[in-house]
């Protein structure tokens, strides 16, 4: 590829746009905490952001409800505007990008060409395999084909949301569109060595925004995926159940359960297990990172956890109000 003038580093960009050195260090420290890294990692992140150019990010949407993009819009630290202006170059994203039609597709193609082998590919929505791709098209092209083409030049693939991770709601029984997750849709290409980028699943319906942005920040700092579990989830965010850190846990331990919404037990903060809460079997960061700048999470307000970051949660026997066995 033709050599071009080196693009400015993230640090350069942040400073040029008025972020103080102190603010920059605070940002690095926050990311370290968020990712549950040892304190020394702040230096790694700082060093990486000082020296690396803003990576290209390509976000493709296939069978999406746009809840994952909306969730990204709610990220408090880092903020979306901070991310897209300072930290990475969001080169393709249906919901936000200015260009439409052919100009939009050209932007994606140009970004793929320019950053071949280096870009971060984010996918949201399930991937329908039925009807030869006609169940989700963009620019006349099948969603699955767009994914498979873009995946081949990616350095990292992040499947955001339970749909892109495991198929999600379109894959719920009877899965009328033969939907699946990104990792599965890329199996053949990965087996053939044509897709070498690691796939990270960031499930949740939608995922906690800071978990999405935290994963990207980790990649910015270390140039690789954070440690993943067997469901390809980043361990720092999916190592504990939401039950483990739930404020209703003391009541669970005492055997005190709400029997109805808004009964006396519910008002006292008793555990919502009997009302169908799936928190004991759901791995996510909702009760630690919390939603909307630490404002809450479903069990805080009063509804049980739907289990929305678990594969197959839509088909769990008995539905959302049946207590788990």
């Amino acid at each position: 590829m033709a050599t071009e003038q080196a693009p400015p580093t993230v640090y350069h960009q942040l400073r040029a746009q008025g972020m103080s050195r102190r603010g920059f260090l605070q940002f690095c420290a926050y990311m370290t905490t968020l990712l549950a890294l040892p304190a020394s990692a702040a230096q790694d992140i700082e060093q990486a952001l000082r020296t690396k150019p803003r990576p290209s990010v390509i976000w493709i949407s296939i069978q999406e409800c746009t809840g994952c993009s909306e969730s990204l819009l709610r990220s408090f630290e880092p903020t979306l505007e901070g991310l897209i202006l300072d930290q990475f170059s969001l080169d393709y994203h249906h919901v936000l990008q200015a260009a439409a039609g052919r100009a939009a597709e050209a932007a994606r193609e140009a970004a793929i060409k320019k950053a071949w082998g280096k870009y971060v590919l984010i996918v949201d929505g399930g991937i329908p395999q039925g009807a030869d791709g006609a169940l989700s098209t963009t620019g006349g092209r099948a969603g699955i084909e767009i994914l498979q083409t873009a995946a081949q030049g990616a350095a990292l693939i992040v499947a955001v949301g339970t749909c892109a991770a495991y198929g999600g709601i379109p894959a719920a029984a009877p899965n009328p569109t033969e939907a699946t997750g990104a990792a599965k849709a890329l199996t053949e290409l990965r087996d053939a060595g044509k897709v070498s980028a690691p796939v990270i699943n960031v499930p949740g319906c939608p995922p906690v925004p800071e978990v999405m942005t935290g994963v990207i920040a980790y990649y910015l700092a270390y140039g690789k995926a954070p440690p993943l579990d067997d469901l390809l989830r980043p361990v720092p965010f999916f190592g504990r159940t939401v039950h483990d850190d739930c404020p209703r846990l003391p009541f669970y331990n005492k055997g005190l359960f709400a029997r109805s919404f808004d009964d006396e037990g519910a008002r006292q903060g008793h555990c919502l297990l009997e009302l169908g809460c799936k928190g004991t079997v759901t791995f996510n960061a909702c009760t630690v990172v919390k939603w909307n700048q630490g404002t809450g999470f479903p069990m805080k307000a009063g509804h049980g956890c739907l289990g929305c970051s678990q594969p197959g949660f839509w088909d769990r026997k008995g539905g959302f109000y049946a207590p788990i066995a």
Partner: protein
């Protein structure tokens, strides 16, 4: 090696003068527009196509109706409250299930927050770039921008230094050479009419609105646990009121935050959104005669205000239908009358058992996927045959526009004094006649004005909730019919709702405690649907006809009118097989 930029598409041979916009970006979901133009680049026929399907209503069949809200919520993550509320209302209507007044008020507060959030995000982040040239902002004089800001509102971020800061940020970004989401925009297109300082003002508010929106949405988190996709429950709302200091439930401190967030909504709407809309509109008055559409409008009415929560007269927005722009008559509407609302699939990729030419009422709705379009990759759809995953809803055979303009027109026609005052004042400021409402510009203005109306009304909603709490009325949930064992063997009902994008209804049939049939007709189904069996265009298609494109390679005019409807495609596409027959195998022709 990277792949070649584009694979050569198969499909039909190129026809002359067909402008394709796919993807239509800055919307929710997958929308494609094919527009045929004459020698002067005037659109003679437009075709609107939804190009993604999931089949959520097939998936819902046989499930617990109390779970419906969570499934329908995932129709759309943008208007994340709307389809949940429609679903719980449908089940409650079917069962005759009364809910406590506090639950009505909390749902109102969540819906109102959704409207205010959604409309502002639509204006700044989805629609603005059709009117605002972001690169032109680089030429702005910050002092002049400050003067402009000071002349239109008391909003505090109005100093030369402030705008100089935004400009520096923007320049730093542009100089980096990585334009990201702003790459390949139609910058410099002669249809952009704002002076550089107005562009800089709008860019500043684009960034401010990003910060504002993630703050004010906390109303959803307080009552529903998170956003996007907060929690709901059939029979009320899931949150409880708790003593101060409780780690769970809604505390007094949370309620104070709600009051503060409402104030933030009102301030931003009154001091930024409304004045910006009027300022920008003043440069685009020619759009007050373009993009009308079908001239028929539908609304189910919204925001029950009590004390009789079921009385259609006691709502912030009235229900009804306006036909042929006639503001002297509001026609009554019955969503359960089989002759009124019907859906056609004549140009959609579905089959009907009685034939594709016969439209069906949603209670009798049936759909079987039948893809007959070209195999991807394709260049053009066959718009004389079927060309969309969206059906074509009709009211007494007529296409209807749903959305803010419909709501505002119906309230205006009903003589609502507040709405009349807001609309007349705005028209007077712009020097435009009432007929200018029937346009792309009218749609944009109606959205802004109803946002003000709703944000202002939140003060009363909040006051009513606090009044109840002070009187010791804390109930948020009624458990009388929550257990499916208490239900009749068969029940059916409709959940009506005004979503930010317009009239939304869910029809449910319950049998033996399970969902036997579920059908949703969504605002974007009304607006984006294809032609019907009689060849009548849907609102998008009608609105685009007659548009002159300055440059067909840069179809900015199409984006302006389509975005003025605020499309939400994932919502619009839905399918159900109510008779329990197996879904017919999806086949490519």
């Amino acid at each position: 090696m990277p792949p070649s930029p584009d694979t050569t598409p198969a499909g039909a041979a190129p026809k002359p003068r067909r402008v394709v916009v796919d993807p239509v970006t800055r919307i929710e979901g997958h929308l494609r527009i094919e527009a045929e133009t004459d020698a002067d680049n005037v659109i003679t026929r437009a075709s609107s196509s939804g190009t993604m399907v999931r089949g959520i209503e097939i998936i819902m069949k046989g499930r617990d109706p109390r779970d419906a809200w969570a499934f329908t919520q995932r129709f759309c993550g943008v208007c994340t409250v709307s389809n949940s509320v429609a679903a719980v209302r449908a089940v409650e209507y079917a069962l005759g299930y009364p809910i406590p007044p506090n639950a009505e008020i909390i749902r109102n507060l969540m819906m109102a927050t959704q409207f205010v959030h959604d409309h502002v995000v639509h204006f700044y982040h989805l629609h603005a770039l059709d009117w605002v040239d972001i690169l032109s902002a680089l030429q702005a004089d910050p002092a002049k921008t400050a003067k402009l800001q000071q002349s239109i509102s008391p909003w505090p971020n109005n100093s030369t230094e402030y705008f100089a800061g935004v400009l520096a940020k923007l320049k730093g970004f542009a100089a980096g050479g990585q334009l990201g989401i702003f790459a390949n925009g139609y910058w410099g297109h002669p249809e952009y009419k704002l002076p550089p300082e107005a562009n800089l003002l709008a860019v500043s508010h684009y960034l401010e609105a990003l910060a504002w929106q993630r703050e004010i949405i906390k109303v959803h988190t307080i009552f529903g646990g998170k956003n996007p996709h907060p929690s709901f429950v059939v029979g009320g709302v899931p949150c409880t009121f708790t003593e101060a200091g409780g780690a769970t439930g809604v505390s007094a401190q949370n309620l104070r935050l709600v009051a503060d967030l409402i104030a933030q909504m009102q301030k931003f709407v009154n001091e930024v959104y409304v004045p910006d809309t009027l300022a920008i509109a003043s440069f685009y008055k020619d759009w007050g005669t373009r993009g009308e559409g079908v001239g028929n409008f539908i609304s189910y009415g919204e925001f029950p205000l009590g004390p009789d929560w079921n009385d259609p007269q006691q709502r912030l927005f009235p229900a009804g239908v306006i036909l042929n722009r006639d503001l002297s008559k509001i026609l009554p509407l019955d969503p359960e009358d089989p002759r009124q609302i019907q859906e056609s699939v004549a140009h959609s990729w579905y089959d009907y058992s009685k034939g594709r030419q016969t439209p069906l009422h949603p209670y009798d709705g049936e759909t079987v996927l039948r893809y007959t379009g070209p195999q991807p990759p394709y260049e053009f759809l066959d718009v004389d045959k079927s060309y969309s995953w969206i059906k074509s809803p009709r009211w007494r055979g007529q296409p209807m526009e749903a959305g803010p303009l419909a709501r505002v027109l119906i309230a205006y026609a009903a003589g609502d004094k507040t709405v009349r005052g807001l609309v007349d004042h705005a028209l007077q400021q712009l020097g435009l006649p009432v007929s200018a409402l029937f346009s792309t510009l009218g749609r944009v203005a109606a959205r802004t004005l109803e946002t003000k109306l709703i944000a202002d009304a939140m003060t009363g909603m909040y006051g009513a909730l606090m009044g109840n709490i002070q009187q010791g009325q804390l109930e948020t949930f009624n458990d009388i019919l929550f257990d499916p064992k208490t239900w009749p063997k068969k029940a059916r009902g409709v959940g009506l709702m005004e979503a930010p994008r317009g009239a939304l209804a869910h029809w449910i049939t319950i049998e033996d405690g399970k969902i036997a049939n579920y059908q949703a007709v969504i605002p974007t189904t009304w607006n984006a649907g294809p032609r019907d069996a009689n060849g009548r265009e849907g609102p998008y298609e009608a609105a685009l006809r007659g548009h002159k494109l300055h440059n067909p390679e840069q179809p900015l005019e199409i984006l302006r009118t389509i975005h003025s409807f605020d499309p939400c495609l994932a919502c619009a596409v839905h399918i159900i097989d109510p008779h329990g027959t197996e879904l017919v195998q999806v086949k490519v022709q």
